[in-house]
Symmetry: C2
Subunit: 338 residues, 2 copies
Amino acid sequence: MILAVDVMGGDNAPQAILGGCSKFLKSETFSDAELMLFGDEKALNQFKIENESLSNRFHLIPTTEVIGFDESPTEAYKKKKDSSLVRAFEAVKNGEAQCVVSAGSTGALLTGAILSLRRQKGVKRPVLASQLPTMNGKSVLLLDSGANTDCKPIYLQQFAIMGKAYMECVAQVKDPRIALLSNGSESEKGNMLTKEVHSLLSETKNIHFVGNAEARELMSGNFEVLVCDGFDGNILLKGVEGASKMILGLLKESLYSSLRGKIGGLIAKPAFADVKKKMDYKEYGGSPFLGVNGGVIKAHGSSDEKAIFNALRQGYNWIKNDLERVIQETIDNNQIDE
Amino acid sequence: MILAVDVMGGDNAPQAILGGCSKFLKSETFSDAELMLFGDEKALNQFKIENESLSNRFHLIPTTEVIGFDESPTEAYKKKKDSSLVRAFEAVKNGEAQCVVSAGSTGALLTGAILSLRRQKGVKRPVLASQLPTMNGKSVLLLDSGANTDCKPIYLQQFAIMGKAYMECVAQVKDPRIALLSNGSESEKGNMLTKEVHSLLSETKNIHFVGNAEARELMSGNFEVLVCDGFDGNILLKGVEGASKMILGLLKESLYSSLRGKIGGLIAKPAFADVKKKMDYKEYGGSPFLGVNGGVIKAHGSSDEKAIFNALRQGYNWIKNDLERVIQETIDNNQIDE
């Protein structure tokens, strides 16, 4: 079991990435895993010195290029052959590793996954999934969270199938309830796309489809998987992000406008920290990209050590529980003419 | 200037509706307006007694039926001829009043607006708009917020035109900035629909189009009008609603789990109330339904007196500034082949 890590991707690279790797290697749970680290030679050598005792479980591959957040993903991916990201993907493509973990540019990661690893047989569109916290302290997988803007019904059916496989293999949730994002919970609600998807999902074998869900139910805990196209997934995720920022921002502003508020805010600080922790993406690790030949985990751009550690844990479960094979089998079992 | 009020619509009807009407009639600002009140005879008679001094400015029309939230809108609208909502629409249709205000079922209101008042000439699809608070203490108009799930590009172009007219005539915002909801702010981002709309809006005369906006910018104050189809509008609005509830719910839960939290929460209470007020839809009144022959304001189902008062104020501005004529002129000026 070998994970290929892009040490140079993300706002806090390479320190936070290497810190997460070190934490991962030191954990008993993952003692049967090895890491391939792609990145700046100096940083890797420093890592080697600091983790000498674990050196039989990591391989250092110095690279000379980095793909930035502001570059055109496709161009950069094709041009920067010696970048940490391209080299990590090549390792999975060549069978030297089984899963890529990167906190770098999402666009470059999706490009790399499709160009280097290619779609699994029968998969129409690979899909980016995001795991979010719910009111009951558990989590929900939203997919597509941004990879495919215009979708056909069969794409969303496959998202549901792949989402189920991911939740079972990686998040260890048995028979997750699957809902379809719509503008009303009644089965007759929806646009042309979701109405067709609703009947497709009702007929899909071996999934626990619970029908339409409204956007306000996202974090209700009423289901473990929420399916939508990548355009709507983006709108829902960013809408939630904007609303959270607005509310916490207004609260802060209002608290700081009076002495009384400042005192109250200070006393209530642990509660705010608690909420922030509960809403924290870092607890839930990265976003998996499902449907290509190999594991792909996109960690958040601002990932710290803990977030990287959690992303590596996801990659570990992915390989250990053979997610790729499970997806292949369920896709094969649900072959439908387009 | 006469407004037709559905006294029986909404969770707090008829008391809150009549309370809002009374407040409206007593305000100096609206002394040139009259109200037609449609509803239960007993409630209307009580209103008459309590507002005797203003009796030259209201007309009471007793009705015997009510359309509920759980009824099929089209069926109920066609069957309940003596309902407060149907009678209010008939009054506008017959020229006895110029604007309907109701806090009842949205579906029945939209049905009534289309069946009784009919689309304005050249308007492809009437549109429901929602006014929301922004970080800078102003507001943004989101449209379509739920009336049309599947849209052609020209529909969204007309939403922009009607949204501008509404903001100028009713919200008194000059030359509002208009943005298009998309999955990225760059002009090349979007799905098939929004890409076409982007080029249409770039060519539309006399509007201040500022390009694509992401969902997280909804309440940023960077624009005054945000255009999207009714499916995405629903997802964005309900996503924001769900996130707000989740954050405030988690905070409350966390505060109440410790004595320290309880004390801090108590001291910080005015700040919470302040935020709640800033996020309060009641401050912004109801949702206008634009593009039919007559004014239509949908007040929130749980409207209190103040919300109804604000909805009546919107209706007043609608009539006073002849929104219907302004929409007709701008639609005529932007005739485009489909």
